[in-house]
């Protein structure tokens, strides 16, 4: 270990951009066992593992599995990594590590952080390839839990409950399981086979899966409450935000999630609505987060002629992962910073005109925050065939729940007890985006785990 003085940080290799654009496959080639060892050996094995304590919402045993894999002990690394995390190979791919573990890594100051994400993904990939299994005891208790939503929070909750031998039934309104992991994150970031592999595992462990079942339609929440010892609500935050400007209801203006879902369904073999076809079009995406990047890069793969991103602030202030921005640039996205759309209208040419104003950032205020202000008389027009709004998500209110006594805040986010994830209803637990608003997959996973642990304490005594 501590080889950081000799070995530099090396990220996993990516396919060439031109090649990447040919398909929706993952763009990274993860590490070989030699490479993963070399990279892991760089770890300092700190007395204060900032990566885990500060950097990781799941507080994964990062230094421990780094040490294990550096020590050529794949099985130990795999077990350590899967002890605390419900799907490390997924999080290793999609976590914004730069903001989390790798940002906290002590070597990030001047040496180059450990490539924690890539190593994490590699460990479980290699282990599964080598035929290693995760131990599940099989359902061995009478307690039964229903989980609503098969996204990260739900999977996590189910995973830990099943490890305790508690029976879990999961309800998902879509045709494929995985929620955001399946529909919200494009395949070039996360291969869908990886998600389905997890579900296969869980089903082998005893998970009962009901797809295409929307609670409130086929079956009601009160019904679930009656049928199960408790339920976990992990329905996410799926309501795309609009910009609140004139013209946003035009048919060529669409919400990011609608677009991404349609694309994924298309990849699953469904015929998509032609309005989501980007072939030869000029596509403008409004927003600077990871979802915006996903849309941009999906559109590029979809054959768009030109793809532009409009963002109110500058590059340094983008909320998403820098890694994803880089990937988007490499793949040919045009970035237009410091612009704020005011109106969208159809020009006589049939093209859309997005009227934008130039912005600038104010000086830092007392809290160190900079605000956006409009530069007067700077309006101009940006032409587009399609406009995709990637401005964030809100929670879709569920009246059935509120009627049962589950309280929400004014943004319709469910309120929960921070120690257990229990809502104000004694049988309803919740977590993930429906409680946090749009947030990270890893925080949703942590919420799911928290609720699962609380349920074990409660039902297994």
């Amino acid at each position: 270990m501590q080889s950081f003085t000799e070995t530099g940080r090396q990220e996993p290799e990516k396919f060439e951009a031109t090649q990447r654009l040919q398909n929706f496959d993952e763009i990274y080639r993860f590490f070989t066992s030699r490479m993963v060892r070399k990279q892991s050996e760089r770890c300092v094995q700190c007395g204060d593992p900032f990566c885990a304590t500060i950097g990781c919402p799941l507080q994964n045993y990062i230094p421990q599995w780094l040490e294990a894999i550096a020590d050529r002990d794949l099985e130990r690394a795999f077990r350590l990594s899967n002890e605390s995390s419900p799907f490390p190979e997924i999080l290793g791919r999609i976590c914004p590590q730069g903001h989390l573990c790798e940002g906290a890594c002590t070597l990030d100051d001047g040496y180059g952080a450990i490539t924690i994400g890539a190593i994490e993904a590699t460990i479980t990939d290699l282990a599964f390839d080598a035929g290693m299994q995760l131990p599940f005891p099989g359902v061995r208790h009478n307690t039964r839990i229903a989980i609503v939503g098969s996204g990260p929070a739900g999977i996590s909750c189910a995973h830990f409950l099943l490890r305790a031998g508690i029976g879990v039934t999961m309800y998902e309104q879509a045709e494929h399981a995985g929620g955001l992991l399946t529909y919200g994150i494009p395949g070039f970031k996360l291969d869908k086979k990886i998600v389905s592999r997890r579900f296969d595992l869980l089903q082998q462990a005893g998970l009962e899966m009901h797809l295409g079942q929307q609670i409130g339609k086929q079956i009601s929440y009160p019904q679930l409450i009656d049928d199960y010892d408790a339920i976990f609500v992990g329905i996410g935050a799926t309501k795309g935000r609009k910009a609140g400007i004139v013209g946003e209801d035009l048919p060529e203006v669409m919400l990011a999630m609608d677009y991404l879902i349609a694309k994924q369904q298309q990849l699953f073999g469904k015929t998509a609505d032609p309005r989501f076809m980007m072939q030869g079009k000029r596509v403008v995406v409004v927003g600077g987060g990871d979802t915006a990047m996903d849309c941009l890069r999906t559109a590029l793969r979809d054959g768009a002629e030109e793809v532009t991103c409009l963002y109110r602030r500058d590059e340094a202030n983008m909320p998403g992962s820098h890694k994803e921005f880089q990937n988007a640039v490499e793949e040919g996205t045009i970035f237009d910073f410091n612009v704020s759309p005011r109106e969208i209208r159809r020009e006589s040419t049939g093209l859309l005109c997005i009227e934008v104003e130039q912005t600038r950032l104010t000086e830092k205020d007392a809290d160190g925050r900079q605000r956006v202000e409009i530069i007067p008389d700077s309006a101009h027009c940006i032409a587009a065939d399609i406009v995709i709004l990637a401005l964030g998500f809100d929670v879709t209110p569920v009246t059935e729940l509120t009627e049962m006594g589950v309280t929400c805040n004014r943004w319709d986010q469910l309120e929960i007890d921070p120690a257990s994830g229990l809502t104000s209803h004694p049988k309803v637990y919740a977590g993930g985006d429906c409680f946090r608003g749009a947030d990270l997959v890893v925080t949703a996973a942590a919420d799911g785990r928290r609720a699962a642990l609380a349920m074990m304490r409660r039902f297994l005594g």
């Binding site: 700190c46 002590t106 131990p135």
Partner: protein, 1473 residues
């Protein structure tokens, strides 16, 4: 107990005997003179007159006593005895004495009150003065002399027992042959006190004399030495264990002298409430009284090292092996003179840690004393001059007028019985009955291993950080930085029961041992079997089963069982075993009691002799009694029921994962341990890693090795060399258990913070058991918990330097505003009760004052010091930043030991505190002179009782230059200061330092442990100006993890104890107190002040300000922030600034101001020592804990107000300094001075060297500037820290520490009358020398040239351990050396003239290699040696040198050249650069 009544003591001692048995008065006068001349080895109380005690044990002055009797008109018969009695109630006690005498056939002839002149006494001594009587006793009937002696002893013991409750009653002697005169008096006044001694008719043939240096100031009359048979200089480290064993050893003893009934009347043989020396005296006396041979009596208790010493005669080894079956060593530094009236002798401990020098004169006198020159024997009258070496003994038989040397005594001992044959027939090593160890692994396989591991807190962290390194390296793993976790008592996590125990360690009054380099004196051998009748040597006592280690492998364990199973052919009744399981379901205390009952029953009725406690019974229902508790409780119950002597206790336990847990079990009575779970864990780990069987076996072997090495290390911290002495010695402080538990299980160990009882411990066990068996709901993917005891892993043990705290401090360092600091402060404020101080809240009788009225920040920051961190541990950038920051704040930075660049002296980058530690690295006159404070580091919080090592790769050119060595040479610091083995030695070093730099304050750094108050009092009496009490949590660049965790206590305990003890001894005003350890915010500072500290040390937080992230990789040279490294690349990442440190400490001071304002005080000084301003917080968490001891109040001053100068003002050298001052003013002149010198003129040359260094630094004066010709016997530390330009020519002899720390100049010593092989200088000469030349035409004592890094020396012989830890310079020995030559030597060269061809056996070949130099290939060595010898001969005219030079070609063949295996330097340093 009044803290002033706790004490430790050391001293000056000796004996003088007229070998031809002709009584004379001169001998008495000379004995007293010798005592007076060792005044500096004793101490004087605050009243300036009360000594700590001195006295004489004389042969019976028959003539004088006849005269006394005549005056009473009584004539004394041939056969009479005299009892000397101290009493405060003669009316009652003397008749009682008479009554008991008459019951024992003794008749009182008359009683005489001994005249005393109280002018001799100090105020305190006078107030305690008893009445002293001499009672003349004769036999009431015709009885044999031997019977008379027996009756005297029996009677005395009975009388003592009768008045055991009266502390003032004491019988100093009651003998036919000996009489005692002693008291609380300085040697100067002993004749005044006892006018008897001035009577010319007081003629004696021998006297044992002794002067005591006690650490306390309330000494007692009866504690003065000599005792009844011995005078002891030293300390018995294993005393608790020895006392414990003495209580059962003789339970079934039969004596040739006494009847069983009489033995019962004598018992208990140990007096209560006496010193370690007195217990030893009791023991020796008991043996002598029971007819045990004089030599066997003492050698059985103080044997030489034998287990690891090559070439000891087999028969002699057999004697000691046989004796060890009944007697374990009374272990510790010791020089003991003793007598039974006929024989008189002196013996030295196995490691030679006290000085004992002898001369035999032409007029048939034998003088043994701590120093040479105490009675001014004219040189021509010295027939023989020598010294005792480690483990040696010298004695005289006054009946025959013969002197016995070690070899004579050895021969007598080994020939006296057929020990060898006895052993061959009856003693077996278990190892003989097995093939190889660790071949059989079926006993290391358990189906529910992982559950058991979880129960025993074997986490992934323990596997990775503890067990794996043990498997790989065969030793304990090393870590760095301090321990920042809570005490077990305050932890909310699963903790091991042994965490409540903190290892004891030696500081000041006794030295730790180096278990690596001085392993030769240590042993882990154990023996099973009863001890038989220890008073009579019989064949059956040889019936023992031995093992070379207290750790059992399955094979050894199994082999042991085969001897104890009646069904098997090897069975012997004395090894009959039974296994007892240590589980309980509920009610821990009752179950423990029942378990003990079963054991007692089995021992009593079924003859079970080997009691095996086995904890392999954990399951869903069964919880485990903590093994230490079971062992401790059963051990004590066996003692109570008089069964202990039959039984060996064996622990088969999963609790022993590291050496600490093993030490706890052994410390409370276990003889052997079978750590099955450790082996099982290692095996499982190895198999998971697919290690092949051979490697697996090796790995298990390594684990076993690591445990052995670990236990040696733990023992060595306390200066104990054998496991048999360590057993039962209870050398732990217990923190947070209740009196109830400690009294019945762990008696003998100090209890700090009384707290958790059986019920609370049971609740903790329940919680763990529940967690494992009930609450582990999920099937684990990774089978073990991660754990966070060593690293801060989320979800586990709390760490005070956790990532959040560190990150916040970094944020503060960036912005340096109060707001960010306050965020940090509130994190600390809100951490809950984690450390002792967190349990205490403020209260004040005053109302708040406006903050403006509180003293300014600068008045507070000047009380701040940075903790000692050496350049070497730190990068130059960080080291200098700390110095500059502390200077800016008016505080003091501590340079640590390792030198400092002279370019920094006199600038704002100079460290005001210069440290001097055991390695003496870079300690030069210039260095010492640049200090405002010189700190003697006796112990380090992170690893008290241990040395250290700076690996070669960290020794950069700068470090090498400052430490006077070559880049790349590994530098080893020994565990002890080799010039401080006792309190009087410390006084001597302080005296040395006050000479070299009279302006500097001398501080002494101690580590918190129970008893540190007693030590602190002693340190104050040794004239220190400041005492630092460090907490256990101090950081380090590298230390074994178990030392980081388990040695030393939180500072709160030590500080309050030191403060209270100093006050109780009226010493507080002479010294200031400082503390350090884990302090982070103002609240900590104010609490430390209230507990008695006047200044405050900060270590780790300052490093964090400089960028440290607590990575804990300092020992790997991988510090990513460029602080703890010398690597250029890493150092380029350093982001520290002076301002960050300054700003932080100013904020801390601002906190202090805020708190003071709220409490209504205007300055910090007002609250120092005001522990009444603290109170235990009112929270249920603290309900069980008792803080009264910490908050105990004593009247008296709370701060230092007076100077603490040594009583010796060194006017001898001051006057000379005046005379030679012109040379210092004008270095171009030269001057010669002449003086007569005696042993009371200590540290000669040091004062002048200091004055030279003051102006010229280490450069000194031109070579020939000052020549001083001396004649006589020089006192200790001749030429210590000698500067260049000084030449000292001594015609005579020197004492200990000649040339210690010398940097330049020359010391040449030629005895007035040359005798080949005679001793000419004492122990530990040239220790830490950095240059200069020492030529001695005679032999040197033990540890010659230890840590020499530059001096050239020639001597004609040395004692043991010569050239130990040497890193440079050249030593030529023209004669025999002792054992262990060149241990830990990593640099320099030595030439040894091995005429008798036995050197190679005495060489420690671990790091060095010896080569012949009579071949052409080694021309360089040959020429270098010759040039040295020529120079030596020119200076000394030594006949040995002449003989060698005259026939150099021939004699060259007898020389060995010893150099480190990886020699990096040129042989002749002058040929370097």
């Amino acid at each position: 107990m009044n803290p002033a009544e706790k004490f430790r003591d050391n001293c000056g001692f000796g004996l003088l005997a007229q070998i031809d048995n002709q009584p004379n008065h001169q001998l008495l006068k000379d004995s007293i003179k010798a005592l007076k001349r060792m005044m500096h080895r004793g101490a004087i109380a605050a009243d300036g007159k009360t000594g700590d005690g001195s006295g004489l044990l004389c042969s019976m002055p028959v003539g004088f006593l006849n005269k006394v009797a005549d005056e009473q008109e009584i004539s004394l018969p041939e056969q009479f005895a005299v009892a000397v009695i101290f009493t405060s109630d003669p009316k009652k006690q003397l008749p009682a004495f008479e009554k008991l005498c008459s019951r024992n056939d003794l008749q009182i002839l008359f009683t005489r009150e001994v005249p005393v002149n109280t002018d001799a006494l100090g105020e305190y001594a006078l107030s305690r003065l008893p009445q002293i009587f001499q009672v003349f006793v004769v036999p009431a009937a015709l009885i044999a002399t031997r019977r008379l002696d027996a009756l005297l002893y029996l009677t005395r013991k009975e009388v003592e027992k009768q008045f055991a409750d009266d502390p003032n009653f004491y019988i100093p002697s009651f003998s036919r042959t000996l009489i005692s005169y002693k008291g609380l008096v300085m040697p100067t006044y002993i004749e005044t006190l006892f006018p008897d001694l001035m009577d010319p008719d007081f003629e004696i043939t021998f006297a044992l004399f002794h002067q005591r240096f006690s650490t306390n100031t309330l000494p007692q009359w009866k504690l003065a030495q000599p005792l009844r048979a011995i005078a002891h200089n030293g300390e018995i480290n294993s005393i608790q264990g020895n006392r414990f064993k003495a209580r059962y050893k003789f339970t079934n003893a039969r004596s040739t002298v006494f009847t069983d009934d009489e033995i019962a009347r004598i018992m208990p043989l140990l007096e209560e409430g006496v010193s370690d020396s007195a217990s030893l005296d009791n023991m020796i006396e008991f043996k002598l009284a029971n007819g045990v041979d004089f030599f066997k009596a003492i050698r059985g208790l103080v044997p030489p090292a034998r287990h690891n010493v090559a070439n000891m005669p087999a028969k002699l080894r057999a004697f000691y092996e046989y004796t060890s079956g009944a007697y374990e060593p009374w272990d510790g530094p010791a020089a003991i003179s003793l007598t039974d009236g006929r024989y008189i002798g002196c013996v030295l401990d196995r490691n030679g840690l006290r000085p004992a020098k002898y001369i035999i004169t032409t007029d048939n006198r034998l003088l043994i004393s701590s120093e040479y020159g105490v009675i001014d024997t004219p040189a021509e009258m010295v027939r023989e001059r020598g010294r005792l070496q480690s483990g040696q003994m010298i004695a005289a038989d006054l009946n025959s007028g013969q002197i016995f040397y070690t070899r004579d005594i050895d021969r007598y001992l080994m020939e006296s019985q057929p020990y060898n044959q006895w052993l061959t027939e009856h003693t077996y090593y278990l190892q003989e009955f097995i093939g190889r160890q660790f071949c059989e692994d079926k006993d290391y396989r358990y189906p529910d291993l992982e559950t058991t591991q979880r129960y025993h807190n074997i986490t992934s962290e323990v596997m990775d950080l503890i067990i794996r390194p043990m498997m790989a390296d065969g030793k304990e793993p090393v870590g760095s930085m301090g321990d920042d976790t809570p005490l077990a008592a305050f932890s909310d996590q699963q903790r091991n029961f042994c965490d409540f125990f903190k290892q004891k360690f030696a500081q000041v009054t006794n030295p730790p041992i180096d278990p690596l380099r001085e392993k030769a004196v240590m042993s882990t051998t154990i023996g099973f079997g009863g001890i038989g009748n220890p008073l009579i040597e019989t064949k059956s006592r040889a019936m023992r089963l031995k093992s070379v280690s207290p750790f059992l492998s399955y094979e050894i364990y199994h082999s042991l069982l085969t001897f104890g199973d009646p069904q098997l052919p090897r069975f012997e009744a004395c090894y009959k075993y039974r296994i007892f399981h240590t589980d309980f379901h509920s009610d821990l205390q009752t179950t423990l009691h029942q378990l003990a009952e079963q054991v007692l029953e089995a021992v009593n009725n079924d003859g079970v002799r080997i009691v095996i406690l086995d904890d392999r019974v954990l399951n869903q229902k069964s919880k485990l009694i903590p093994m230490a508790m079971a062992i401790g409780y059963i051990n004590r119950q066996l003692l109570k029921t008089n069964l202990r002597q039959h039984v060996s206790l064996v622990a088969v336990t999963g609790e022993v994962i590291d050496p600490h847990a093993a030490a706890v079990l052994i410390g409370y009575g276990a003889i052997a341990i079978y750590p099955w779970l450790l082996y099982a864990s290692a095996l499982a780990l190895g198999e998971k890693r697919n290690q092949p069987p051979r490697e697996l076996r090796k790995a298990l072997q390594n684990v076993y090795q690591a445990l052995n090495k670990g236990i040696l290390k733990i023992m060595s911290k306390m200066g104990i060399s054998t496991v048999s002495s360590y057993r039962n010695a209870a050398l732990f402080d217990i923190i947070g258990l209740s009196h109830g538990i400690v009294d019945v299980c762990f008696k003998g160990s100090p209890l700090l913070l009384p707290g958790l009882g059986f019920q609370e411990i049971e609740e903790r066990i329940d919680k763990v058991h529940r967690k494992i068996f009930v609450e582990s709901y999920m099937m684990p993917v990774y089978p073990l918990e991660i754990g966070g005891y060593y690293r801060d892993n989320p979800g586990f043990e709390y760490h005070d330097f956790n990532s959040w705290h560190v990150t916040q401090l970094h944020r503060f360092a960036e912005n340096r505003n109060r707001e960010e600091y306050l965020k940090f402060r509130s994190m600390i404020d809100n951490r809950g009760i984690r450390y002792v101080r967190d349990a205490l809240g403020f209260k004040s009788p005053h109302s708040p004052v406006p903050i403006e009225q509180v003293e300014p920040v600068a008045a507070i920051t000047c009380r701040f010091d940075s903790a000692a961190m050496s350049l070497g541990a730190l990068s130059p950038e960080a080291h200098e930043a700390l110095a500059e920051a502390m200077n800016h704040l008016g505080g003091r930075s501590n340079c640590g030991e390792g030198g400092e660049d002279a370019a920094r002296f006199n600038t704002n980058r100079n460290s005001r505190i210069k440290q001097i530690a055991s390695g003496r690295f870079g300690v030069t006159p210039g260095y010492l002179r640049s200090a405002e404070e010189i700190q003697i580091k006796l112990a380090q919080g992170a690893k008290p009782g241990e040395g250290g090592q700076l690996p070669g790769e960290k020794v950069s050119p700068l470090i090498a230059r400052l430490r006077f060595t070559i880049p790349g040479v590994t530098l080893i610091s020994p565990p002890p200061h080799h010039d401080i083995y006792s309190i009087e030695d410390l006084a001597q070093l302080i005296f040395d330092l006050k000479q070299i730099n009279p302006k500097a304050k001398i501080s002494v750094k101690l580590v918190s442990t129970e008893g540190v108050g007693t030590i602190a009092a002693g340190v104050a009496k040794a004239n220190a100006d400041k005492i630092v009490i460090s907490g256990h949590d101090g950081g380090t660049g590298a230390a074994p993890l178990s030392s980081l965790k388990y040695a030393g206590n939180p500072w709160e305990f030590g500080l309050s104890e030191a403060h209270i003890s100093l006050k109780a001894n009226n010493l507080r005003e002479l010294v200031s107190l400082q503390t350090d350890g884990g302090m982070k915010i103002g609240r900590d500072v104010v609490k430390a002040a209230m507990l008695g500290a006047e200044s405050y040390g900060f270590g780790t937080p300052l490093l964090v300000l400089l960028g440290c992230k607590l990575l804990r990789v300092c020992h790997l040279n991988r510090c990513t922030v460029g602080i703890a490294t010398q690597d250029e690349n890493l150092r380029s990442h350093y982001i520290g600034t002076v301002g960050k440190v300054v700003s932080y400490l100013e904020n801390v001071a601002e906190d202090v101001r805020e708190i003071l304002a709220v409490l209504g005080f205007r300055s910090l000084e007002e609250v120092i020592g005001r522990c009444d301003l603290l109170e235990k917080l009112d929270t249920p968490l603290l309900n069980h804990f008792d803080f009264s001891e910490i908050l105990h109040q004593v009247d008296g001053g709370n701060v230092r107000t007076r100077d603490n100068p040594p009583f010796d003002d060194n006017s001898f050298e001051k006057e000379l300094l005046k005379e030679i001052y012109p040379v210092i003013k004008n270095p171009l002149t030269e001057m010669v001075a002449e003086r007569d010198i005696s042993n009371v003129n200590r540290s000669f040359g040091t004062l002048i060297s200091g004055e030279i260094a003051r102006f010229y630094g280490d450069t000194g004066l031109p070579k020939e500037a000052l020549t001083i010709r001396l004649r006589g016997v020089a006192g200790q530390s001749l030429g210590a820290f000698l500067s260049e330009g000084m030449s000292i020519f001594l015609r005579g002899v020197g004492n200990d520490y000649v040339g210690k720390g010398m940097h330049g100049g020359r010391i040449i010593i030629i005895p007035e009358v040359y005798q080949a092989g005679a001793s000419a200088v004492g122990n530990t000469c040239l220790y830490g020398a950095t240059g200069g030349k020492l030529f001695v035409a005679g032999t040197a004592g033990e540890r010659f040239g230890v840590r020499n890094s530059g001096a050239l020396a020639v001597v004609e012989g040395t004692g043991d351990h010569a050239c130990e830890y040497m890193t440079g310079g050249t030593v030529v020995v023209l004669g025999e050396t002792g054992i262990n030559f060149g241990a830990g030597m990593t640099g320099g060269a030595a030439f040894v003239y091995d005429r008798s061809k036995n050197f190679i056996d005495r060489l420690n070949q671990q790091l060095v290699v010896a080569r012949r130099i009579d071949v052409d290939e080694d021309n360089e060595g040959r020429l270098y040696l010759k040039s040295i010898l020529i120079s030596y001969y020119n200076r000394t005219a030594s006949p040995v040198a002449k003989a060698v030079l005259d026939d150099f070609r021939e004699e060259l063949a007898y020389f060995w050249m010893v150099t480190p295996k990886d020699m990096k330097a040129p042989l002749n340093p002058k040929e370097g650069d």
